[in-house]
């Protein structure tokens, strides 16, 4: 990609191939001999990290597609089937779902780096625009991927985002119908989104090739923003850039692994563990964290069409950046004013991201409007103006001069702070609408919390007993099978015990040879029996509110921990909102609502239930279930045990995940250490 190669293979087979297809020469000139500025800092490793993330997403995605069913009634359960039943399916799914977030973290760092160092300026305009195209494609791909699990957020995200197109005058409604393939989001929508979600990553890969091509024609920009002049200004791509990228990548993988193995649902929304329901919109719709700034811009404008135009405009304005900022000096290092405005702009973006996760009311709307104006002002007023009035400092004569003048870590540290800010935003997306007077559930001590957490087998067995004797009268657990009771990392029943438990139930099977359905004793492969034959029956028998399925309850409920607690949660690996909440609900019933609170007929007062009026009567009372191991027969004990049991039911591979996670973290730390010292050795020659 960078002109004719001087690569001369020695091996006769390679020679034979090279004469007919000069592929080794191409690879050699692009990734070995290619001259790279010697003053690149670690922010330049994110290009390689992004290529790696694209590869990870394609590999894990192709594998997930082997097990996934893109059909509206089966999609949700097929994803759970992957997580529960496929070998290492949980790993592949979490790698893919968190991989999307990592991809966006990396791309935002990559873009801010380009912005700071002026990497879009002549002669790199096409390179930058190709990057904007990749970013747009990533957003489309990420959005469609989020629809595929067919949870509540998938469904309503799809509804809201496709409805953006209805803002287009005259043809909007027709376009939306076209996108849906129906009169609402449904199975045809899911099918085409799956098809496109599979296609677009390969389109991205194609544009990435163009992006790298354009990069290798123009050459890399660098922190000094001056072009390489002599050979002293550059080093060969391999080994210098390769080893530096590898070290950067290994650090990024550590960060990635932390999410995958220890807080895999931190960046997700609990509502997406509830199967899509076209009849009920979640109380608070938020997109994935990486769309939040644009979502905030959309909501800031009180006009449908202009809101949509502003949102897309906020992305498209990036493509015009090379002409909006016509300053001759590339790097913000030598632009005192531009540097300050850059950091203000970073804060504006983070602020918009935070606001995107907040409910659209009161101060949040006003703040959103102010920041939206700031966002556009940066591109349309500040940058054009600065290029005319700013007096830049003198840039170094050459890259070699820049290397000699060391000690510019301030900017890097500041950017690191910005990265931490991005991470915070991620947590912000978890924000849940809360009734302001609902207290947060108290945090209990769970045996399965933390990096070495394990389920307490006796506790899970007790919890199963509580479920079986109390909860199962109204609540199904459709994703659980009797065989799961004997799975490693679970309640620790033996196969014989699980078989005995299964044989207690009657299962309808058939048809037999005569065409009749018949009943047989349950087998270990059977699901837990559902108390009602269908949702309508469940609704009718429970005063109009169907008791929800409990399989995923411990991951489908959450609450807001607030700023800055949710940031600490990422470090403390706090993942126990679900069991805390279930325990709180089960113990939060009060016979009489406090003075001034009225509860509708057929509902009951619960301190921790949002809105306080819960349709479920107080399910547990002291002495209701007798434990064989002598544990106290109290509501608190029942609630704790059944919450732990439901946590296992929702995350049955938790122990395996944490065990493998520890091995991966130890390996990555050693590997990153080795790469660090190797990098130092290699670069020792270059200085």
């Amino acid at each position: 990609m960078s002109g004719p190669s001087d690569f001369q293979p020695q091996n006769s087979v390679l020679k034979w191939i090279e004469r007919r297809l000069p592929i080794f020469g191409l690879v050699h000139s692009s990734f070995v001999a290619y001259p790279t500025p010697r003053n690149l800092n670690y922010w330049w490793t994110f290009g390689g990290i992004l290529s790696f993330m694209l590869a990870i997403q394609i590999v894990t995605g192709v594998i997930l597609a082997m097990h996934y069913t893109p059909e509206a009634t089966m999609a949700f359960n097929s994803v759970e089937g992957i997580v529960r039943d496929v070998n290492y399916g949980w790993l592949l799914r979490y790698l893919h779902s968190n991989g999307a977030s990592m991809f966006f973290i990396a791309v935002y760092i990559h873009m801010f780096r380009g912005l700071y160092y002026g990497s879009y300026k002549e002669p790199r305009e096409i390179l930058w625009i190709l990057g904007v195209i990749i970013y747009l494609l990533m957003m489309a791909t990420g959005f469609m991927g989020y629809v595929l699990p067919w949870g509540q957020m998938s469904f309503w995200g799809a509804t809201v985002i496709t409805n953006l197109f209805s803002a287009i005058p005259y043809v909007g409604e027709s376009i939306v119908t076209l996108l849906w393939g129906g009169y609402s989001v449904g199975n045809p929508t899911l099918n085409r989104f799956f098809s496109l979600h599979y296609l677009l990553p390969f389109v991205i890969a194609g544009v990435v090739v163009l992006h790298v091509w354009a990069l290798h024609v123009a050459g890399q920009n660098n922190p000094a923003g001056v072009e390489p002049k002599t050979e002293k200004d550059t080093v060969r791509f391999t080994p210098y850039a390769t080893i530096k990228d590898a070290f950067g990548l290994s650090c990024f993988m550590l960060f990635y692994a932390w999410f995958v193995f220890y807080i895999p649902n931190y960046l997700g929304d609990p509502d997406n563990y509830v199967v899509a329901n076209p009849g009920v919109t979640p109380a608070h719709i938020v997109p994935e964290w990486y769309y939040l700034p644009f979502y905030a811009i959309l909501r800031s404008i009180p006009n449908k069409l202009f809101g949509v135009v502003a949102m897309f405009g906020a992305i498209l304005v990036l493509a015009f950046l090379p002409w909006l900022d016509s300053a001759k000096t590339r790097s913000s290092r030598y632009r005192p004013l531009a540097k300050q405005f850059f950091w203000i702009f970073v804060v504006v973006c983070l602020g918009l991201g935070y606001l995107g996760a907040q409910p659209p009311e009161g101060i949040y709307v006003i703040a959103g409007r102010i920041l939206t104006v700031c966002y556009f002002a940066y591109f349309l007023i500040v940058l054009p103006l600065l290029s005319r009035i700013e007096r830049p400092r003198t840039v170094p004569n050459s890259i070699a001069d820049d290397v000699l003048a060391k000690g510019r870590y301030v900017a890097s540290i500041a950017v690191a702070a910005a990265v931490a800010g991005l991470l915070m935003l991620g947590g912000g997306s978890q924000a849940q609408a809360q009734e302001h007077d609902t207290p947060n559930p108290p945090s209990l001590t769970w045996s399965f919390a933390g990096p070495f957490g394990k389920f307490d087998e006796a506790q899970l067995q007790r919890g199963y007993k509580v479920y079986k004797e109390v909860c199962s009268a109204c609540h199904s657990m459709n994703l659980l099978h009797y065989r799961n009771l004997a799975d490693p990392g679970g309640p620790g029943f033996s196969i014989a015990q699980a078989t005995a438990l299964a044989s207690e139930i009657k299962v309808q099977d058939g048809p037999n040879d005569a065409g009749d359905m018949f009943e047989r004793p349950g087998r270990i492969a059977d699901k837990f029996p559902a108390p009602f034959p269908n949702e309508n029956a469940a609704r009718a028998a429970n005063g109009g509110a169907a008791p929800p399925d409990l399989s995923l309850m411990a991951k489908a409920r959450g609450y807001e921990r607030g700023f800055p607690q949710f940031i600490f949660d990422a470090f403390a690996q706090f993942q126990e909102k679900g069991p805390n909440y279930i325990h709180a609900i089960l113990t939060g019933f009060e016979d009489k609502p406090p003075a001034g609170v009225t509860i509708p007929d057929g509902s009951y007062y619960n301190k921790y239930f949002p809105g306080h009026a819960i349709k479920m009567p107080k399910p547990l009372s002291d002495g209701q279930v007798t434990f064989d191991d002598g544990s106290p027969a109290t509501v608190d004990q029942y609630a704790t045990d059944v919450s732990a049991f439901l946590m296992w039911a929702a995350e049955p591979k938790l122990e395996e995940r944490k065990r493998i996670g520890l091995q991966v973290m130890i390996f990555l730390i050693i590997f990153a250490g080795l790469l660090y010292f190797t990098k130092k050795k290699v670069w020792a020659n270059a200085h």
Partner: protein, 175 residues
């Protein structure tokens, strides 16, 4: 670099080798889950549990086909003639030598239970067809006798016997 001591060389070489080795180990460990996921998942394994079949409705000379682990299993109630033919074959002349007694359960000579998948390329042979009173595969013309042994055609082996046992005289458990 101009001059480096040999000690420096070996230390660096060790570092390079260790880093490369760690990368190789990491890559190999990564491949494992990517390949392992292709194996049958827990649902498929659970669905492959043994099945019980009531054989009382199968009259002499008839056969039924049941499925176990997605494979068709022929359960054939053989006639006297079929049993005699199967028993009197000279075993050493067979392509895959096996006496009939090794292919049925003792005391249940009339019951032949075989996996109905041709050992040539996996088609399903038709029962009660061909020259040997057994099975005939329509794909490439393999013929099996009344004991399910290969007698003619391209298939190399006899029809395999699935693991099964008689629970009672009228019920077998396959798997």
């Amino acid at each position: 670099m101009t001059t480096a001591s040999s000690a420096g060389h070996s230390r660096r070489d060790f570092l390079f080798v260790a880093t490369g080795a760690a990368a190789a180990v990491g890559a190999a460990a990564t491949v494992w889950p990517l390949v392992s996921q292709m194996n049958p998942d827990a649902t498929t394994i659970a669905a492959g549990a043994p099945i019980e079949v009531d054989i009382s409705p199968i009259a002499e000379g008839q056969d039924i086909k049941v499925f176990w682990r997605g494979k068709p299993i022929y359960i054939m109630n053989r006639t006297k003639k079929q049993i005699e033919e199967a028993q009197k074959v000279n075993v050493s002349d067979l392509r895959d030598p096996q006496p009939d007694s090794a292919r049925v359960k003792e005391g249940h000579d009339n019951w032949l239970v075989v996996i109905g998948i041709c050992t040539h390329l996996g088609c399903i042979p038709i029962a009660h067809e061909g020259n040997y009173d057994g099975f005939f595969c329509p794909c490439h013309g393999s013929q099996y006798d009344s004991s399910g042994r290969i007698r003619q055609g391209p298939a190399p082996l006899n029809l395999p016997i699935p693991p099964y046992a008689f629970v009672s005289d009228t019920k077998i458990k396959i798997g």
